[in-house]
Symmetry: C2
Subunit: 138 residues, 2 copies
DNA sequence: GTCAAAATCATACTTTCGGGTGACGGATTT
DNA sequence: AAATCCGTCACCCGAAAGTATGATTTTGAC
């Protein structure tokens, strides 16, 4: 980024310099002032486009995950349910999830049942699928 | 895209026109020709940058999915197995998969068992998780 | 045409999941 | 105080998923 700006500055300075130099040597003789201005405008417009591309092309963010809180709220999914959902998405079994969050496997099942209702699915794979598409989980 | 180019062309033409107009009225009196050229250059450079951003900002590729054939090959996953895996990833049950690809549910189970071995997992959710991380499926 | 891999199907058995119901305590809202 | 929501847990039942083993057919490569 800084490098690009630096290069751009250099290029701009150099171009101005070159243009000023040629101005009094050749162009003034052969072209009208309007034509001269037009050429300069074109060159700098081109330069600007090039710089614009440089500035934006590398700017593509790694698409930071952003949780969809609105959807979460709209669906009425609680903290604990979301937690279980994330563990399901990691491929854990109900028993493993129970061990992870220190509750009984029955509790995990209850959370999941409610999740399935809220997400309108009937199996864990579908829940994960849907949750990801809604950006509920990453 | 076409619209942007059109707008750019209009803006450029307008700017040139305006500049030419003012050239003979004010600037020539107050500024040296070099200064005049510099201002024009700056304006068009800015315009160029703006256009450059417009041209590229909407160009962010949707990150086309590219299947990891090497991994697929390395793991020895067959066509049919991959097909089943994709359906699993969509949240289908074994029976639904069987109906989709017109085989018995037993066949689906067999394919899945082999997949689990090859992916070194023991449940479908883990298989999907791993397959996605390996870019085996989208 | 032989051979191996892939695909198919079956049967039997175990484990995991999901659905339904009910219950209890704590926190918040009404 | 009553109603609600959340988190917790239990029990039961049936469906789905996973494991194991064995067998037949297709297919592709050599």
């Amino acid at each position: 980024m800084k490098k690009t700006i630096f290069i751009y500055g250099l290029a701009l300075a150099a171009l101005v310099f070159v243009l000023e130099y040629f101005e009094y040597r050749y162009f003034i003789r052969d072209l009208s002032t309007g034509g001269f201005v037009f050429i300069i405008a074109l060159m700098f417009a081109g330069l600007g486009i090039w710089v614009g591309r440089k500035l934006t092309s590398h700017k593509q963010a790694p698409t930071e995950f952003q949780q969809n809180d609105k959807a979460l709220d709209y669906l009425g999914i609680s903290e604990r349910e979301l937690e279980v959902l994330q563990l399901v998405a990691q491929g854990l079994s109900n028993q493993q999830i129970a061990d992870t969050i220190f509750v009984s496997i029955n509790t995990v099942k209850t959370h999941l049942s409610r999740l399935y209702e809220k997400l309108e699915v009937s199996r864990r794979t579908q829940a994960v699928e849907k949750a990801k598409s809604l950006n509920l989980i990453k």
